[in-house]
Symmetry: C2
Subunit: 352 residues, 2 copies
DNA sequence: CTGAAAGCGCTAACAG
DNA sequence: CTGTTAGCGCTTTCAG
């Protein structure tokens, strides 16, 4: 294996100079730089990760992790817990991670106007070397941090993509594909003839739901002309909405006796599944949901209350953003891609 | 973060002594040892991986990877390629991996009597620090290596479990669960009423097939009393068998007009799927297969020739055994479990 | 039985 | 602009 020392020797310079050239830091005479680059190339130099990892401690990197903290979104709790655990592993590289929990429950209309003083208070004085931010908040945080005079630190967005300027990467699933996958499952369950009711606990304007519905509809058009979406219901995720949700779904099933597949985008409260089973005892409705994060949800898949769940690796959504930042800042490894897709998996009773 | 140096300082000894105590190597006076252990514990010492990784280079570890080399088993090619790639990453830790390809095509009855001279020639003079061995060959290799006078090196078995004495770990899927999963899918596809034909290109005596069939049958018994297994056919994987296979399956479908789910354990030649589609044009047969490793197979899932494929992470089966050995030998990390289960995933046209 | 020292590959800080 | 030095945490080797 060829080391930086070998290159230095061969080029007749010091290791420091080689390091400077390979990292474009400091000034080196053009001829020397060129020579060093050529030699490194010829010898097939590959930096040693262990060496870098060890030396990285001197950088005392600080990362910020911004997440959603709410008892109504257990999915984000899983992300948070995974990130927390990975942060501990990063400690040995001298990296410290600060967690910023945003609590939507405390502010009505949270996602719509989050350029509020709370955010300013939270972020204006934070100097971080890198940020991992849950989508839809990327730009807000970027602006808040920059306004407070700090230079631009790299940002990785997760869960929901957002058009943040110069973001380092995005980690999350392909929601359109998720919708397509749901359609493929509906087709399998009904020999390509599903009558589908789509339901979600959100006002229908959030990106993920729109993308999933669009994916589902595209797949119907392209591949399963006999599948029909007979009803769509969106109930907003508020106290009132949560109370009404089950009833709305019940009414939908009553109104459309031909529904044989229920596609739950964001059930919010999963007890709606149990309701469907009781109410539809004489009917055969298949339930497809998204995500599986609590024991209770898993249990429902195991016992058949939910037929199929489509999952998107929440753990990875917590870990990967930090990993990308660490690789970039500590080890000098650029992200391989701008979009790290988390896998869409199909879970049924036998593989939850 | 607490280092070995901190402990040494606090205990009033040298770093070398601390190292000896923490690794039970060399002799240290009992009182000192006890004291050091206590202090390490109190201070919550966690070894630094980067440091160990760097120091590991001096060990010049040698690992052996034994795999199956045959154009009839693309699954094992994927394992091999993944292992090969990971081996390259290990180079920077001073680890060299030697690959031993066993070619069953060259020997009839290969798996039954592989205590032959070929193996002896291949392994008798190999001194390795650790072995990763495909299941069903673990013991043979262990014996061959030991007979040739080499002391016992740790062995990790992969793909198929085997009762190797003192093996360090096994990496592979739960084949019984794989069979259960297939049954769960058959149930979904047919509203719990499947009439199933089970087919495989092996003589029915190999472990994985037996386990899958057993899992399927158990699930039928426990959960889906209305599912029936109406036929089972095993055709041995020989030249003759491969030629006959498609026809045998065709005959089975003709004989049992009620079959609506075909469960292909090891199709060998996937063209059988296309045959079923042509032959059964007027009939609605759903095909469930295992594993998805070639582009051709993926294409069949995409275009609906295969309805569902159950996969078992072949890449991981190549990488993980080497990773376990590396962690154990180079970093001193014991395997967390004796059985590293690879995940069983459900693939359909929308998530291949 | 134990301490001291060297070195794994890389980076940062300092001195010219 | 460039070379030297020190050190990240751990292991191994060499003396004693």
């Amino acid at each position: 294996m060829v080391t930086i020392k070998d290159i230095a020797q061969r080029a007749g310079v010091s290791r420091g100079t080689v390091d400077r050239v390979l990292h474009d830091r400091g000034k080196v005479s053009p001829q020397k730089a060129e020579k060093i680059r050529r030699i490194a190339d010829e010898m097939g130099y590959q930096p040693n990760i262990a060496g870098r990892g060890l030396a990285a401690r001197k950088k005392h990197l600080k990362l910020g992790f911004v997440y959603i903290k709410s008892e109504h979104t257990p999915f984000h709790s899983v992300i948070y817990e995974s990130a927390k655990q990975y942060a501990q592993e990063l400690e040995q590289y001298g990296v410290s991670v600060t967690f910023f929990g945003l609590e939507p429950d405390k502010y009505s209309g949270f996602f719509k106007d989050c350029g509020n003083p709370m955010l300013y208070n939270m972020f204006h004085s934070q100097k971080m070397d890198g940020w991992a931010v849950v989508g839809t908040l990327g730009n807000v945080i970027k602006q808040t941090v920059e306004e407070s005079g700090s230079e631009t630190a790299p940002i990785v967005v997760y869960n929901m993509d957002e058009d943040v300027e110069n973001k380092l990467a995005f980690v999350g699933c392909d929601y359109v594909q998720s919708g397509r996958l749901a359609c493929g499952i509906a087709a399998l369950l009904t020999k390509n003839r599903a009558h589908v009711g789509i339901v979600s606990m959100d006002d229908g304007s959030i990106q993920s739901s729109m993308a999933r519905v669009a994916g589902f509809e595209t797949e119907v058009k392209e591949r399963y002309p006999q599948i029909q979406i007979v009803a769509k219901h969106f109930v907003e995720n508020s106290k009132k909405g949560r109370e009404e949700f089950s009833m709305k779904v019940y009414q939908m099933l009553e109104e459309h006796k031909d529904i044989d597949v229920l596609y739950l985008l964001n059930p919010g409260d999963y007890s709606v599944c149990q309701m469907v089973r009781r109410a539809g005892a004489t009917r055969d409705v298949r339930i497809i949901t998204n995500d599986l994060v609590t024991d209770w949800q898993r249990e429902m898949v195991k016992n058949g209350t939910i037929d199929v769940a489509i999952c998107q690796e929440p753990e990875k959504q917590g870990v990967k953003p930090l990993e990308i930042l660490f690789n970039y800042l500590a080890l000098g490894i650029e992200p391989e891609t701008l979009w790290y897709k988390t896998e869409l998996s199909v879970r049924i009773g036998q593989n939850v």
